[in-house]
């Protein structure tokens, strides 16, 4: 349980600093988000039962809510739903290799 909490916290820190970097440093270089691409890729390639994709989608959404003019929770909930839906479709209808070496939470 404690291990899971520590892993989730580390994931949050990585996503938080990545987000800060993108919103303050990278707007000069690019107009798309590497973080969003990362979240989609993780959700695509993680094992369907894994939770990293879901957690990273939720955390990224939450940070986007905080650092935008939207209501808090709008992106967090929609990204989480998107992650769940994607995993559901992939597990049920698509046969695709997943990265089993990804750390699990």
């Amino acid at each position: 349980m404690i291990k899971e909490i520590i892993k989730t916290f580390i994931l949050f820190l990585i996503i938080y600093f990545w987000f800060i970097l993108e919103s303050s440093y990278l707007p000069f270089l690019t107009f798309f988000s590497f973080l969003l691409i990362f979240v989609v890729l993780i959700n695509l390639f993680e094992e369907p039962q894994g939770r990293i994709g879901l957690f990273s989608a939720f955390m990224t959404g939450l940070l986007m809510d905080i650092y935008s003019s939207h209501h808090i929770g709008l992106f967090a909930v929609s990204f989480s739903l998107f992650s769940l839906l994607l995993k559901f479709i992939l597990s049920k209808y698509v046969r695709m290799g997943s990265f089993s070496w990804l750390p699990k939470i």
């Binding site: 000069f28 986007m64 808090i72 769940l84």
Partner: protein, 262 residues
């Protein structure tokens, strides 16, 4: 039930939605302000660093900033002169009443840009007297945007290029009014310019007081790529911005006597 969509996950999501509803109702601004204050220093230094990196040669960077600021000043002066040439003193007194308004400027710094939209966060807010709807300009009277959200120490500014941000503008060169339409991705276009008038490349575009959204005479940009299509009732053009987001550091919020319409 599927192993992905479990009862536990659905319950957790419902619980989170409930929490978010409570947060939005009571703690939204406070929570946002807390997060902004914790990351402000890091964000401000990253913003400056990014600005320096963008112009690879450090010596050129300062020179570029100065030249851009100077250019903005000259362009706004030029726009003012063009307008003044067309009006006599009596008309100016009658039409330019809002120029008489005495507004204060509050200096702020940009600390981050929203990833998904054209809006930036600045480090002044309610405590400095900023209110929703206040226009935000750069040195040289170039319009950056408008305050859309205010927190105790921070404000969010919607840039003129934000999708759906329509501004009534004037082209003093052509003695005509038009509409500046935000296209998103730091681009904006000119619309509703009458077909029967000549729209020249490079003409200056300034805000008009007609729409009641912004004070008049603030510089928006220059006309670029004019299109006069047969099937369009108006002439269209692109707007060349007078600011580069990468060079912006300091901004001024105009504390207007009255809040302009949304």
């Amino acid at each position: 039930m599927n192993s992905v969509i479990t009862k536990k996950r659905i319950l957790a999501l419902v619980f989170l939605i409930g929490c978010f509803l409570i947060i939005n109702a009571f703690f939204k601004d406070g929570l946002k302000n807390f997060f902004y204050s914790k990351a402000e220093q890091l964000q401000a230094s990253l913003w400056n660093k990014g600005s320096e990196e963008y112009f690879s040669k450090k010596n050129q960077e300062e020179l570029n900033k100065k030249l851009i600021e100077e250019n903005q000043k000259l362009l706004s002066e030029l726009a003012g002169l063009q307008g003044a040439r067309e009006e006599n003193e009596t008309l100016r007194e009658a039409l330019g009443l809002n120029l008489q308004k005495d507004f204060d400027l509050v200096l702020g710094k940009v600390i981050s840009k929203d990833i998904l939209s054209d809006s930036v966060l600045i480090n002044i807010g309610l405590n400095e007297g900023v209110k929703k709807g206040f226009p935000v300009i750069l040195s040289g009277k170039a319009l950056l945007g408008k305050v859309i959200d205010v927190y105790p120490n921070y404000s969010r500014v919607m840039l003129i290029t934000q999708k759906g941000n329509n501004i009534d503008v004037e082209i003093p060169d052509a003695e005509s009014f038009a509409l500046s339409k935000g296209e998103g991705s730091l681009k904006s276009s000119l619309d509703m310019f009458p077909r029967d008038k000549e729209l020249k490349e490079g003409s200056l575009i300034v805000t008009s007081a007609l729409g009641g959204n912004y004070p008049s005479g603030l510089l928006i940009g220059k006309v670029k790529n004019v299109k006069k299509l047969d099937n369009e009732p108006f002439q269209l053009a692109e707007i060349e911005k007078v600011f580069d987001l990468s060079t912006i550091s300091n901004v001024f919020v105009i504390k207007v006597a009255e809040i302009y319409n949304d």
